[in-house]
Symmetry: C2
């Protein structure tokens, strides 16, 4: 016995970590949970005045980069800003239409929120604007409460209220550093959800394209199709022909800009505005508005009127507004932050998720008080901004200024803009969200992710937007819980001519060590998996015993648990160890642990399990554990469990 422990270097023992005061470890773990990016790093060792300045710069990033802003940057931002403004105006009107609110609110929403974001946001490329999915969600969720056609004024108030709550929710997620909640919407979920939403948004456009007046309030494919084909005789061919022409034009420019970047980029970027101008001219000249082509009609001149007084907190529909606000808030964040991160990655700068949430939240709160509805960071517009060469958030300011000009002087020009052109613009933008290539990628790499994506898609298309979201989130959560509840246990074998122990499945050349079963547990041990692990480990043991009996080999003496991958245990996990220890004792087997991490050692120590297992049966590596077991097996031929392990040299 002495030989094992005596020639064993003490520095290579697995130490029991010194116990930390509870408050200290709580502080560390809270910091790791809520401040993993260590945002206050730059504040360290700075004088107070500098700390205050840094604090301002932290919360209002424009203070940080504005002093370094150059004229060259401005030239680039001016071009990018005008480009995205040419998108913002027609899209603003189109999406407002989708949200069943007056088109002018879509324009208002491209004026105030971009200014707020330019001050508070940390992305240099994000182009702020209204988004199609959230617009549709608003009209489908709030339209159930108040009819937008019968009570337009009350409906708009409810939209402002929902926008307000979306902003409050977004800002509080950021302030309370709960940004990680957004991570629970996986990429697969978002691909499926966005694809489904894009599909139903396109289907909704059939109303505009075919010039239909009555249309279903449901969003699922079946209701929409029934509504479209049920009104077959009311289809307006003038409208349909015009719509198809513009759609063809828009898709053609997009196709070419994808194929050849360079010159076609600008054509593509300007296509929506061109369509609006051409369409309006056409209607004006042909008086098509009298032949079944619906037009926008009168738009009020002037900037955003204040709308604080319209936030009806006493409304009986308050709960619906809060619910809608939370859902559209989180969807806006999920898209906006993903978009921001993607482009930040291209240019190699860092986006602080929690700070972005505060910026999004503030811009929507401010928006709801100035007659704007929900804004976020749409992918398509941000990509145009990026490709047009934007250098900073100043491009958003340029866009806002251009929209302001439009509001002040150009609104009469939209009087004759045909709705069908807006539908064509929406369809062409939505087709870009149908990311079938991402779905194929998911299928290739991870089938389960693909099914989550498909579930979200079908949920949205066949049920409703909320159904799709609920399906996707619950399947994602179920996946996490299942993976926690059913961790892998792996039998390790010795790789030939080495002291390395690896999975027998993965490395076919690995050999079992006679008399020893080596198991690796591949997850933290929690209440959720403790009883599964206990059963699975027992099963490994009796399967191994059966196999040995059948093969006529020498019987099992040691079970080594490799705990390298066990990052933590809770009290149920400790009970599991106790029960496995008892179970093995009764079978006359010895439990040996390899490489427990400090948290596991701490808990094993506190629960006195180290004493019952024996400190000398806890090894730094599987190799050392095997060597010790082999030594015992070949030196002490008596039942190895009967040996007295309480040698005096135990630490």
């Amino acid at each position: 016995m002495g030989t094992i422990t005596a020639d064993y270097d003490c520095s290579r023992r697995v130490p029991v970590p010194p116990s930390k005061p509870f408050l200290n470890s709580l502080k560390t773990s809270l910091k790791e949970t809520f401040f993993p990016d260590d945002p206050f790093r730059q504040f360290k060792n700075q004088p107070v005045s500098r700390k205050i300045l840094l604090g301002f710069q932290y919360f209002v990033p424009i203070l940080e980069w504005a002093p370094r802003y150059t004229f060259d940057f401005f030239k680039a931002d001016l071009v990018a800003g005008i480009t995205i403004a040419s998108l913002a105006v027609p899209q603003g009107i189109s999406y407002a239409n989708l949200a069943s609110i007056p088109p002018i609110i879509g324009l208002y929403s491209s004026f105030v929120p971009p200014l707020i974001y330019a001050m508070l946001g940390s992305s240099r490329d994000l182009a702020v604007g209204t988004v199609a999915v959230a617009s549709l969600l608003m009209s489908s969720m709030l339209g159930k409460e108040i009819s937008p056609t019968e009570n337009p004024k009350q409906y708009v108030q409810l939209v402002f209220l929902a926008t307000f709550f979306a902003g409050v929710f977004q800002a509080s997620l950021g302030i309370f550093r709960l940004g990680f909640l957004v991570d629970f919407l996986s990429h697969a979920t978002i691909v499926g959800f966005m694809g489904g939403a894009a599909t139903i948004v396109c289907l909704q456009q059939l109303k505009g394209m075919l010039g239909l007046v009555h249309f279903t309030h449901e969003t699922d494919v079946i209701s929409v199709m029934r509504s479209v084909f049920g009104q077959f005789h009311q289809w307006r061919w003038e409208s349909a022909v015009l719509g198809c022409c513009f759609l063809f034009f828009l898709l053609l420019t997009r196709y070419f800009s994808k194929k050849k970047a360079g010159a076609f980029f600008w054509i593509n970027a300007m296509a929506p505005l061109t369509s609006v101008i051409l369409g309006s001219l056409l209607v004006y000249l042909t008086h098509a508005e009298k032949h079944g082509v619906q037009v926008i009609g009168h738009l009020k001149k002037g900037l955003n009127p204040p709308s604080v007084s319209e936030l009806a907190f006493g409304s009986p529909h308050l709960m619906a507004a809060i619910k809608t606000g939370i859902i559209i808030g989180i969807i806006g964040l999920a898209e906006g932050i993903a978009v921001g991160r993607t482009f930040a990655m291209f240019k190699n700068y860092h986006i602080d998720g929690n700070k972005e949430m505060i910026a999004f939240g503030m811009m929507n709160i401010a928006g709801s008080c100035t007659s704007c509805y929900l804004t976020a960071g749409p992918f398509s517009r941000t990509a145009v901004n990026f490709n047009a060469g934007s250098k900073s958030a100043v491009s958003n300011i340029v866009m806002a200024t251009a929209v302001m000009m439009t509001l002040l002087f150009l609104t009469p020009f939209f009087h004759y803009t045909p709705l069908v052109v807006l539908s064509a613009i929406i369809i062409s933008a939505m087709l870009g969200l149908l990311d079938y290539q991402a779905a194929i990628h998911l299928w290739k790499i991870d089938k389960f992710d693909f099914f989550i994506c498909l579930g979200a898609y079908l949920g949205v298309v066949l049920g409703s937007v909320e159904t799709g979201l609920i399906i996707a989130v619950s399947v994602s959560l179920l996946r996490i819980l299942l993976s926690v509840a059913r961790p892998k246990t792996i039998v390790l074998g010795n790789l030939p001519n080495s002291g390395i122990y690896r999975s027998m499945d993965q490395y076919p050349s690995a050999n079992k060590v006679p008399g020893i079963l080596i198991l690796q547990i591949d997850a933290p041990i929690y209440f959720a998996n403790a009883s599964y692990l206990r059963e699975r480990i027992s099963r490994w043991i009796y399967e191994e015993e059966d196999r040995l009996k059948f093969a006529g080999e020498s019987s099992l003496h040691y079970v080594i648990l490799d705990l390298s991958a066990v990052a933590s245990v809770d009290t149920s996990g400790i009970s599991m160890f106790e029960e496995i220890k008892k179970h093995l004792d009764r079978k006359g087997l010895k439990l040996v642990l390899a490489n427990p991490c400090s948290e596991v050692m701490k808990k094993l120590d506190k629960s006195k399990l180290i004493e019952s297992i024996g400190q000398e049966w806890i090894y730094l590596t599987v190799g050392e554990a095997v060597a010790a077991c082999n030594f015992m097996l070949h030196t002490c031929k008596s039942n190895p469990v009967a040996v007295d392990y309480n040698a005096e040299d135990n630490v």
Copy 2:
């Protein structure tokens, strides 16, 4: 370059596993998820006739053990069965009182369900019976729907309906092998929840102890206390004195039986029945029922009447019955299975959780059709059964027979049993559920578990039973999600005089390797943690670069990610690797992977990441990775990233 790869044994490469057909891997993972205990193992390689026999034995365990049953076993079971019957009768009446149903139903419930369990159950020690917490839950949840005092008949029907749904829910959990859902109620949750429930059950007994007629329907401490002290002038001292005497007697016997097992065990086991007999005699002789001591009154003679026709599926309270059924069903299961497993562990036999669920479900379905309400496996009664020397489920049959005799012949004797004795019995049983030692244990080992426990306790005591349950489950889930969302990343260092790399925090003697940062990721990489990990890894890198710059040491060249503990990745995880790769490339650092498991290798391969990282930069161990990096650092003094790694000997 050649030297690294040439003298490198090919068998020690990390292999890309051969791709399996999707259906095969789906089958394997479904089997691991739903049949981790491999229940059909014994069916393998057996003739058909034997398979059928084994199948019957599998679903009806009595067929398996009955042929081996001996007379000696029967003698032991007879004693144990009579002992638990002496508990079952008074507890049955008491708990029925708690559930606000006629006391006779409590007796019925100790007759049919134990017989069903004896046939289908796999525990040898579990004593079936009514449970206090579920009884209280029923009266608090169903009492809101129908008043038990105003509409007793309809209320009882609703109780049967809830019992039926509890049974259906339990059986379906077992049949669909969803038993692991019960595992999401952690031990800490159950300790807190049971303690809270025991507290409020005790408080409810103040009604009986003080002889109060009117009492609140709320269960929280504040309402109960207000109700008790508000009726100060209606307290009946006769009742209170009698109750305190019996409570003192019961606690005394329990105290002594805990201190000295032997003789006192029987006194303790018989104490409730003795109290009932003594109490009834006392009331009968002194006519105390006319002086404020409430008595049970008339109990109908005869066995359980059928109650199938009373299951009112068309009831307007159907949803309430289903909800109550699910909650009491899962609580019954959680306690019953934990109890069964504990005692199976003592006697070293195995309990199949899913089979137990089917047994519990069938016994409650059968119960709901024969005028019984919810039964489970209470801890106290099972412990008595075990200590009285039970050998098999026959002790349940003996108990059922004894209860049958009581029902047929002895019900008149309970006419004069004072309610206050029943209250004393309930309080004495409940005090055993207040497991303060377990709470202390939790505090010592895992503070977080302690707070979960406390949350559940306070939720039950200050809110309601459902509030407590919801708090406990959501905090437990939050804990899992947080641990998934915030996995640990650990910096590894070299232990002196070895090729072993371990956490620098845990092993203070470990040394950093110059120019190399070694990080271990301690969790599967999922959508829920991918963006956290990306940020955390970037932070480790810039912190290390800052440190090196500050210390004036040589700069960083390699980042080794030890993936030993990464059991799986999804598509978001793969994107994270791609982004880290890009990030490191831009910084001129080289990404090296160590010990990826087969699932990770498979996905890296499918996503072409192996090609972009380079197969020769994926090593079996951290030691080999460090050796290769050191070789590159010291041999090729040029920028190591610029070397051509596509040597022809790459596999």
